[in-house]
């Protein structure tokens, strides 16, 4: 396909609703030939795997890390590398890594050498840490209580060996969401971070009537803390009911909630999405709040290390973080990580009592 970018664009001529191009256009010939007819695969090293078709054909995949936020310079470089070793074919993974798709075995090693030379980080395949699913943060979103890319960077820097070489009992999926809208996969990740507020939204009564819809604003509140304030043609917030979630701000700009002193990060753990062994699980609260200590959030990194190291030390092979915790029990989780258990850990929202312990089955930890 020859791509064109004319100097002068006639916007009237634009076609609509053509949808994306057909995927066949982007598949390497060996994939087109063996589409749906793969036999097996082997993981040859942390960043290299080969898929073998029933026909005997093979395709090698070399995976490298990506910060997801990519400049066109970097993208061009990737394209160049793909041209050199992969006939131009490459893909991204659902976790934002880059996969070079090599059809010719002899090109695998040279590709990996060049990637290494250029300081690409090869790895992420198999039972280890892969890239972190994340969101916009302060780079682009009005709603962010924390930056997302920075958290990814500091966590991956800490656990980088587990991307490139070391193994974990099973895959460890990290995720970051910069606010409770949770555009990342936070609610079902092994270890995840979510930006939170801890103070009431500030009501800008003057702007409310211009910028916000009353019913939508009221309906947005998960705790029904918002009621109309007819006198002011605005709203009231019941401070006792507000959980600082910020959903009212999502629908109404006149309710800013960001607060540099009190915003920060919560850590949730033990979620997963796959159906292997245990059904998919939600992440649960491990640390209710850590401060936004820019630029490298040392408390977040430390707390994560406590969780991660305890998991690596304690889990059986193939156990995900949540499976390990379920087996040892939450009381042991808090004991072995040394993380404090606070009132915030005890649910008090709509389905709270479904999380209370309704058994005398308890392990003594002290």
């Amino acid at each position: 396909m020859p791509y064109v970018i004319p100097d002068v664009v006639d916007v009237k001529q634009r076609k609509t609703d053509i949808g994306p191009p057909h995927y066949k256009n982007f598949l390497p010939p060996v994939i087109q030939k063996n589409y749906g007819d793969w036999k097996t695969h082997e993981i040859l090293s942390p960043g290299l795997m080969v898929h073998i078709a029933n026909s005997g054909d093979k395709i090698w995949t070399v995976r490298v890390a990506s910060p997801r936020l990519l400049s066109t310079d970097t993208l061009r470089e990737i394209a160049d590398i793909a041209e050199k070793y992969c006939d131009g074919y490459f893909r991204f993974t659902t976790r934002n890594n880059i996969e070079f798709l090599v059809s010719d075995e002899s090109k695998v090693k040279p590709l990996m050498d060049e990637l290494a030379d250029r300081k690409y980080m090869i790895g992420g395949i198999g039972s280890r840490v892969s890239n972190i699913v994340h969101t916009q943060g302060w780079i682009h979103c009005h709603s962010a209580a924390v930056d997302a890319s920075a958290l990814v960077k500091v966590i991956m820097d800490e656990f980088v060996d587990y991307f490139t070489t070391k193994e974990t009992p099973n895959k460890v999926r990290f995720a970051v969401a910069c606010c409770t809208n949770m555009c990342g996969a936070v609610h079902c990740s092994d270890i995840a971070y979510v930006g939170i507020h801890r103070k009431l939204p500030r009501i800008d009564h003057d702007n409310f009537k211009n910028l916000c819809e009353l019913p939508t604003t009221i309906a947005s509140c998960p705790t029904a803390a918002i009621t109309p304030d007819p006198a002011k043609k605005s709203i009231k917030i019941n401070a006792d009911k507000c959980m600082y979630c910020g959903n009212c701000f999502s629908v109404c700009p006149a309710l800013p909630i960001a607060d540099p002193e009190n915003d920060g990060v919560a850590i949730v753990v033990g979620g997963k999405v796959g159906n292997l062994r245990k059904p998919p699980m939600f992440s649960k609260l491990a640390v209710a709040y850590l401060p936004n200590n820019t630029p490298r959030w040392p408390e977040v990194v430390k707390a994560t290390k406590k969780i991660f190291d305890a998991y690596v030390a304690g889990a059986k092979k193939h156990e995900r973080v949540g499976e390990w915790i379920e087996r040892i029990g939450w009381e042991k989780f808090f004991a072995v990580t040394g993380l404090p258990f606070t009132f915030q850990h005890i649910d008090d929202w709509t389905y709270a009592f479904k999380t209370f312990r309704t058994t005398t089955q308890i392990k003594w930890t002290k």
Partner: protein, 402 residues
């Protein structure tokens, strides 16, 4: 050429082994004033611990109701390059495959019309082109369409469907995830580009229960491949695994949730009647075990982020549906549920929330689906439930007495 800012805090994030997003912004900043001011504003955010983007702002392209996220800086005076800094969502290719040519096209396009910063990809699956001004939107969209690409979704619309790599490069895919995604995207162009629903609607398709695209957690409609046949076993390969040091008893037998595998040191046996189709044994003994037909999909509904009722995982609504082109049964079902949702859904009410509000029965009836035990983790426990007049006519116990 472009403005330079001191960024002592962000510079800290160029240290350490993992590729740095700050380096990426700096690369773009060398060429783009927008990217340069993005860097400047971001440093200030890091200093002040707060975001400096304004709330919302509607922008778009003619004929479309979505695909662009309007974004304006609160500090336009200080950082004029990001006074406008809109995101364009471009519908990705099924399976996220690219050629170098295509990628270079995107680079040229975005150097011309935007900041030079991108996300490959957004969490929903779109190509995210980060940072442009309102004036550039029309020409950008036009050039995209000239070259065979189209915008993705935003707002109260169907969002860009996405999928796992599936049959393109995975031996376990039991449905054609790429084709289903492409076909549904084409079928529902109008619903994708012109918000007409109560709220957003996401579709994610994966080839098997491993769910490499988090479909069950992040899609209103989750389509997950599965199988009905027995698991085929290559006993020699199983023995190879054992020889290479796998503890089959511990790692496979004891971890099988169906408790349906036995291993006597020589032969692996699976009682398929008790298999829960979880994929554990198949993936950990890759190459030795494989699912056999009939192949199809479990269809689930309702996953979403926490607002307003708490995060949900999708719920099974069809335990097994064969999925062959043109996927008519699936499409009809989707249209039926959308009609119902459009009729009853409140503003900003996801389809799962509506199901909770009006009851699963109504939803199933609308979709023409039967109640079956596969839909529930367990039947209800509290002894209150509805009856419809038609239920009174059925007297299933008359069977018992025979």
């Amino acid at each position: 050429m472009t403005k330079k800012y001191d960024t002592p805090l962000l510079d800290e994030l160029e240290k350490g082994p993992f590729p740095s997003f700050v380096t990426e912004i700096k690369k773009a900043a060398a060429k783009s004033a927008m990217a340069a001011d993005e860097l400047g504003q971001l440093e200030k955010s890091f200093r002040d611990k707060v975001t400096y983007w304004k709330h919302g702002g509607i922008v778009g392209v003619r004929g479309y109701g979505g695909g662009v996220i309007g974004r304006y800086s609160q500090l336009a005076d200080k950082f004029p390059g990001v006074a406008h800094f809109h995101t364009v969502r471009v519908n990705q290719t099924s399976g996220l495959f690219y050629t170098s040519e295509t990628m270079k096209f995107f680079c040229d396009l975005w150097d011309k019309y935007g900041s030079g910063l991108t996300n490959f990809h957004g969490s929903t699956g779109d190509i995210i082109l980060l940072g442009t001004v309102t004036e550039n939107l029309e020409p950008l969209a036009t050039v995209l369409s000239m070259n065979g690409f189209d915008l993705g979704g935003s707002g109260s619309a169907m969002r860009t469907p996405s999928c796992c790599v599936g049959p393109a490069r995975c031996e376990w895919s039991m449905i054609d995830t790429l084709d289903i995604t492409y076909d549904l995207t084409q079928e529902f162009q109008d619903e994708l580009h012109r918000p007409q629903f109560p709220y957003k609607f996401k579709i994610k398709t994966v080839g098997c229960p491993v769910d490499c695209n988090a479909s069950i957690a992040r899609a209103d409609l989750s389509i997950i491949g599965t199988w009905k046949g027995p698991i085929a076993i290559d006993q020699d390969k199983v023995k190879d695994y054992a020889k290479k040091g796998m503890n089959i008893q511990e790692e496979i037998v004891n971890m099988c949730p169906g408790k349906c595998i036995t291993w006597d040191g020589n032969t692996l046996n699976i009682n398929n009647a008790d298999c829960l189709h979880c994929m554990h044994c198949i993936t950990k003994l890759a190459g030795a075990l494989k699912p056999t037909p009939p192949f199809g999909a479990v269809i689930l509904i309702g996953a979403k982020a926490p607002f307003v009722i708490g995060a949900t995982l999708s719920w099974v609504i069809v335990p097994f549906m064969e999925l062959k082109p043109p996927y008519q049964e699936l499409k009809d079902m989707i249209r039926n549920m959308w009609d119902w949702w459009n009729e009853y859904g409140k503003n900003r009410e996801r389809i799962g929330e509506l199901i909770i509000r009006r009851g699963m029965r109504e939803f199933l009836e609308v979709c023409g689906l039967e109640p079956t035990p596969e839909l529930v983790r367990e039947p209800r426990n509290d002894p209150f439930w509805f009856w419809k007049e038609e239920d009174f006519e059925k007297k299933p116990w008359e069977e018992f007495l025979k």
